[in-house]
Symmetry: C2
Subunit: 313 residues, 2 copies
């Protein structure tokens, strides 16, 4: 990976596709991943190792991951919901494994039928599995604190609970902690406060990542707030793929191309070619005609005289 | 006006309506203005004193302003493009007059067929007109630096030019300076830098305002950035009314209800009842069926357990 100021992880092939009705053909997934990697996207969450009977979209997880692993310079990420998924992912050659742990007990029960404590315990077993790998090919483990900014079932999530879960995940063996605004409840003030608190607890040098949704329109403002308190790793999806079905027009994840535009226009190097990225948006979703896409920069076009980081340097 | 942390000026009846195809009946305009004022919106830009043959939407400017002037607690604002418009506005009883001056020479010529210097000269004559008013009913004059963050005709706009125009407007008699991102080119880093520069030049205590468009999706992030460097006055439009015709889906102004949601969720008091405001969005545009509305919070709904400033206090 080249030196960049922020690392953007495209999570559309996982977070986006798990919300779409149609199955995206495996070849189309591979083409999408290849095209975004070619546009300079440094990391892509390519699939989820959930049982195919729960989410049929990911029946081809092994094949998609193998393809992503073959792409030079790309860091593929996979989601695993439990120990079994972790075993499958590692067997399939995963380099970076993201495990969501709901800080909200209500969400944890609803999502994986475990308490948060049980989920952390299972995370520790996954960490043992990873530690048993040969040192030179050991996977990285991301402990993601889901519903860190609030929960549509539980409502408010105590910040002390987020800190506690983050500390537990680090202690259990996480290589990185992610704070996820799973339902789009976060606001910029809260983002700054919570990231500061968690970094104070886990150590300012311990890797930390941000995962924002744009459900209530604050996605980019929240990303800006996180950037301002030192966060340098951000998830997003091309075209904001994955809108909430209950809120038409309220897009899902932060839109990758808009996030890249924001950072590049600020002089923050993402390493991503924005023109190429917008072109990927135009072509990648042809096999998914019912996908609702969001975002602004792809429609409005770049400002006249716009100099992205790469050109200005 | 009650003590609030930020003052949001609804500019939809002017900036929004000047971009819509249909004429909004005068009674509907009055009802919209009344309803937003009742929701606690402290200031509304209610019309433009341009010749009706140029923008027929504002043929009823006098009547709409008279209605707005009758509403207790509301500060009505009017736009005037030139000296004649200023005379009309003052004769009609305007309390707050906003005059846009394009920093971009190309935009100034295209918009009012004057150089920026000629426009500033005319602004000074308007200031004289205002100063001739009786002291206790003297109107406030806002000098708005249009295209301050870039221009779709000229491209880059030099920051030194913005500072120069702001200083000239203050010297000519402006009571307040506004920096306007007329075409949606601004980014948060630029917003902070330019507001800092202009405030350094005109004085940190001199009133300053921000007018952002959301054409490229950065509207709220830019508002956040401006807030962080001390700006406390923001323009926006309900439902983002006034989208650019060349960029479908790329909304026009910052969406008022989303801006209010951002600030209130951060614990920043806007004095506005968000529930009532969203209700206004539902009813105000019925007489304008071709209006394209944008925004997130009105579709996604408030977070569970959400406490706006007014409830938390």
């Amino acid at each position: 990976m080249n030196a960049v100021d922020v690392v953007i992880t495209e999570v559309g092939p996982r977070d986006g596709l798990q919300n779409t009705k149609s199955f995206m053909p495996t070849a189309a997934k591979k083409a999408w991943i290849s095209a975004e990697a070619a546009a300079g996207v440094p990391a892509i969450e390519v699939c989820s190792f959930v049982p195919a009977k729960l989410i049929p979209q990911f029946v081809d997880a092994e094949e998609v991951l193998a393809h992503a692993n073959s792409l030079r310079g790309l860091t593929p990420v996979v989601l695993v919901p439990n120990f079994k998924g972790c075993e499958r992912a590692l067997a399939a050659g995963a380099h970076r494994v993201m495990v969501p742990i709901s800080v909200s007990e209500a969400h944890s029960m609803s999502n994986v039928r475990k308490t948060t404590a049980q989920a952390i315990e299972e995370f520790a077993r996954m960490a043992d599995l990873v530690k048993a790998q040969a040192r030179d090919r050991r996977a990285q483990l991301v402990g993601a604190c889901s519903t860190a900014f609030g929960c549509s079932l539980q409502g408010v999530v105590a910040e002390a609970d987020v800190v506690r879960v983050a500390l537990a995940l680090r202690a259990a063996g996480a290589d990185s902690i992610s704070l996820a605004d799973t339902v789009g409840y976060a606001n910029p003030e809260q983002v700054k406060r919570l990231f500061r608190k968690v970094r104070e607890a886990i150590g300012a040098d311990f890797p930390i990542e941000a995962h924002f949704h744009n459900t209530r329109g604050l996605g980019l403002a929240n990303a800006l707030a996180a950037y301002e308190v030192g966060v340098r790793n951000f998830d997003s999806t091309l075209g904001g793929l994955g809108g909430c079905p209950f809120a038409p027009g309220a897009s899902g994840n932060v839109v990758t191309e808009d996030l890249v535009f924001m950072f590049e226009s600020m002089g923050v190097n993402t390493g991503i070619d924005l023109g190429k990225l917008i072109e990927v948006r135009r072509t990648a979703f042809a096999p998914l005609p019912d996908a609702e896409l969001y975002g602004h920069i792809s429609k409005a076009g770049l400002p006249k005289g716009f100099q992205p980081w790469s050109q200005a340097a």
